[in-house]
């Protein structure tokens, strides 16, 4: 079949939109190859419809009252498609992007269509089709929809960034063995899974041993720089959660919003005397300070909280803490490291930035009112043995309380990081087992009890 003129509705040739014809890409748009047009239809292209199509593509304002609305065009298309249900010939074109394609080819569907041929039932048929599409959509897209929602500003997930300090030292000081790599791999996987579930951003901080920080005054001061960089990288995020590599998120189902931020005031204590391992004088007694500087609880508003951290048995712990984007935080990150202070203290400040923070919390009154302390287990539970040798339930992870996160603090000093991480990984998997597994476990228990089998742990 040859056409006297190009089938393209456009002047100068070219299809209105590539990919809408079969075998597009193999045929050039200008030289219409006969095989590409459907046989048996002498006027293979409906001129009016093509014109409407090209109008739609070109987007010219249309003042036609007839047949120009979206629905009327679609209606026409849909109804032409119905013909194909009636005589499904093997040579007929099948739209590969059509949702209903699988359904069409299924044998069971054909009989149904035959029953719905009468135009009166078309409405019901469409309804069924729509319902089916929605159902398929639910099945396949629901997790994506939920994740998209959680990431969106309404869901609030994008307000949180998890910064995971990884690749500590980069293997420069000590050889990184298989266990170190395993810790790293697993810890990253763990945070990725948690962040993905709730739509949080995850920033992997590469804490390589850089020359910039190797000077004795500036060892391991990357934290501040890394956080600042993350704040630049995620300009819409509000809270930045620093996590050391040796941590494990135990409860994937607990969101930060639900766990803390929906009702921050009730979780936070600002009066450090409630738990004061460092014996910090609080509130400050100086007569020349204003009320805010001398107050026990700051201004008491959740809005003024810009840093959330926990204390362990030795004082502040920075294995897991939150910073909020604010002027206050900029100032803190700026004041945190100072060469004159560090020159005097670097022999005493064993834990570097942690000690420095403790120091400026004590010496500079402006810091206090914006620092909130969380009960340790809420974001920084320790495994047994990490804090003294005791088993204080305030400090150590409690399985029954479903603590959010475990920090294997100090595991590199005489303990085994990988075995601890592995233990908590398995434990969290077991705690998060599905209801079916729970049911099976429960059934097994009952069976054992009935048969009198001794329970083996």
């Amino acid at each position: 079949m040859t056409l006297s003129r190009s089938p393209s509705p456009r002047a100068g040739g070219g299809w209105s939109s590539p990919g809408l014809i079969p075998a597009s890409g193999t045929t050039s748009p200008r030289g219409a190859s006969p095989g590409s047009l459907s046989p048996g239809t002498p006027t293979g292209i409906s001129w009016a419809a093509a014109k409407a199509k090209s109008d739609e593509v070109r987007g010219y304002p249309s003042f036609q009252t007839r047949n120009s609305g979206f629905f009327s065009r679609q209606r026409h298309k849909i109804s032409t498609r119905f013909h194909s249900f009636r005589r499904p010939s093997s040579r007929e074109y099948v739209d590969k992007d059509d949702y209903g394609r699988d359904w069409k080819s299924s044998g069971g569907g054909r009989g149904l269509i035959c029953g719905l041929r009468t135009p009166i039932r078309r409405g019901r048929f469409r309804l069924l089709l729509a319902l089916l599409l929605v159902w398929i959509g639910c099945l396949f897209c629901w997790p994506t929809i939920v994740q998209t929602y959680r990431r969106s500003p309404i869901g609030g997930g994008s307000k949180f960034v998890i910064i995971l300090g990884s690749n500590v030292e980069g293997g420069v000081m000590e050889w990184k063995g298989a266990r170190e790599w395993a810790v790293e791999r697993n810890s990253i996987w763990n945070k990725k899974r948690y962040a993905k579930k709730w739509g949080y951003e995850l920033e992997l901080a590469n804490l390589l041993a850089k020359k910039r920080y190797s000077h004795e005054w500036r060892e391991s001061w990357e934290k501040g720089d890394v956080i600042r960089e993350a704040m630049r990288k995620y300009p819409d995020a509000e809270w930045f959660w620093w996590l050391d590599l040796n941590t494990w998120v135990m409860e994937y189902d607990t969101s930060l919003q639900h766990h803390l931020f929906n009702d921050l005031e009730s979780h936070v204590y600002r009066d450090i005397t409630a738990n004061n391992p460092l014996n910090i004088t609080h509130p400050l007694p100086e007569f020349w300070l204003d009320e805010l500087g001398r107050s026990l609880e700051g201004d008491g508003k959740a809005d003024s909280l810009n840093m959330l951290l926990t204390q362990d048995c030795d004082g502040f712990n920075l294995g897991s803490f939150f910073l909020r984007r604010s002027l206050w935080t900029d100032r803190l990150l700026d004041a945190w490291w100072d060469p004159v202070m560090y020159e005097q203290m670097h022999m005493k400040w064993e834990h570097k930035e942690q000690d420095a923070l403790e120091y400026i919390y004590q010496s500079q009154p402006w810091v206090r009112s914006s620092v909130g302390f969380l009960p340790q287990r809420s974001i920084n539970a320790y495994p047994p043995g990490a804090c003294d040798d005791g088993d204080d339930s305030v400090v150590h992870y409690q399985q029954d309380a479903h603590d959010l996160i475990v920090n294997m603090a100090g595991c590199m000093f005489g303990r085994d990081c990988w075995s601890e991480i592995y233990h908590y990984r398995e434990l969290s998997n077991w705690l998060a087992r599905s209801s079916w597994e729970r049911f099976r476990h429960g059934l097994g228990d009952v069976y054992d009890r009935v048969t009198g089998k001794p329970k083996d742990d």
Binding site: S72, D330, A335
Partner: protein
């Protein structure tokens, strides 16, 4: 093929007209749904915007007005008669322009300053003034070795008026003269300024500065007064401490404006280390007898006398 079958133009116009009516009805429906959805979405966006903007903005010192003159009186270094003149000078200036005076005695801060030189007392004293007058907007610290020479000039018309500071600010100049590699920000705006200070030929000059009430003021005074700075044995105590934080902490520098020395603190002819155009000329707001209190062979009362007489004459004539 997309258009598998040509649409058959029906000889009966009836179904066509019917469908067009249907479509117009549907179109209306669709339109209203779209408008409603758009309205809801924009409302959500607006609410979200309102909420999110509230959390990051910082409260300007709302509801604060007026100026407090902060003067530290060191009775161990200055004679009583000298201080009486300084007090008279400040009280006259405050009365003319409706400012408040805050006189503090250095000995009150003995315990706070500790073993460090007592000149460090300027930080807690200014903090004390802020605690005493929380509703005031500006705190003008002027050391006891300085005299206000132009009583009719108000701080507002001189510096604080809108647009005035923009002209005065020294941008992209070394923070500590003559050749500090840290320079003041070239793109700084008047609205970003919380601290207005001058420099002489060698250092910043904490003997005369204006500080805006607010969070920055608390932060700045607290970090300046940090015990580890006081114990560091800076050669010039709080002056070098100020030089240090200004060069190492960009969050401080970002809120600071440097102005030419004669705007806030002209030096007398006897004071060493004035900047290029920093010695007192008639009409300047302030004259500072820098170093008169602790330099061998200088006497503050003696240096003050001629200028005090000049000021008295001016004050009476206006």
């Amino acid at each position: 093929m997309q258009f598998a079958l040509p649409p058959r133009r029906s000889p009966h116009p009836l179904p066509l007209s019917r469908s067009s009516r249907m479509s117009s009805y549907r179109r209306k429906q669709l339109k209203s749904v779209a408008v409603l959805a758009f309205a809801i979405l924009s409302l959500i966006y607006l609410l979200h915007y309102l909420y999110s903007s509230g959390s990051t903005s910082i409260a300007a010192p709302a509801g604060t007005t007026g100026v407090v003159l902060v003067t530290l009186l060191d009775r161990r270094r200055f004679s009583e008669s000298y201080l009486k003149k300084i007090i008279a000078n400040r009280e006259d200036y405050a009365k003319r322009h409706g400012y408040t005076n805050f006189f503090a005695s250095v000995s009150d801060y003995d315990e706070a300053v500790g073993d460090a030189p007592m000149s460090w007392a300027v930080a807690p004293a200014t903090r004390h003034a802020m605690a005493t007058h929380p509703r005031s907007a500006y705190f003008f610290h002027l050391a006891a070795n300085a005299l206000i020479m132009n009583p009719t000039k108000s701080l507002k018309s001189h510096i604080l008026e809108k647009g005035r500071l923009e002209d005065l600010m020294l941008k992209d100049v070394p923070v500590v003269p003559p050749d500090s590699i840290i320079k003041t920000f070239a793109h700084q705006k008047e609205n970003d300024v919380d601290l207005i200070i001058t420099q002489d030929g060698e250092d910043l000059n904490p003997g005369s500065f204006i500080l805006k009430n607010g969070e920055f003021a608390r932060f700045f005074l607290d970090i300046w007064f940090d015990p580890l700075y006081r114990n560091f044995n800076f050669g010039k105590a709080e002056t070098h401490g100020l030089d240090h934080i200004m060069q190492w902490h960009p969050t401080v520098l970002a809120r600071t404006a440097l102005v030419p020395q004669r705007i806030l603190g002209s030096y007398s002819h006897d004071s060493p280390g004035a900047s290029l155009d920093g010695t007192y000329k008639d009409g300047d707001l302030v004259i500072q007898f820098r170093g008169c209190e602790d330099t061998e062979g200088r006497d503050c009362a003696h240096e003050l006398e001629p200028y005090y007489k000049l000021w008295e004459k001016k004050a009476q004539s206006d």
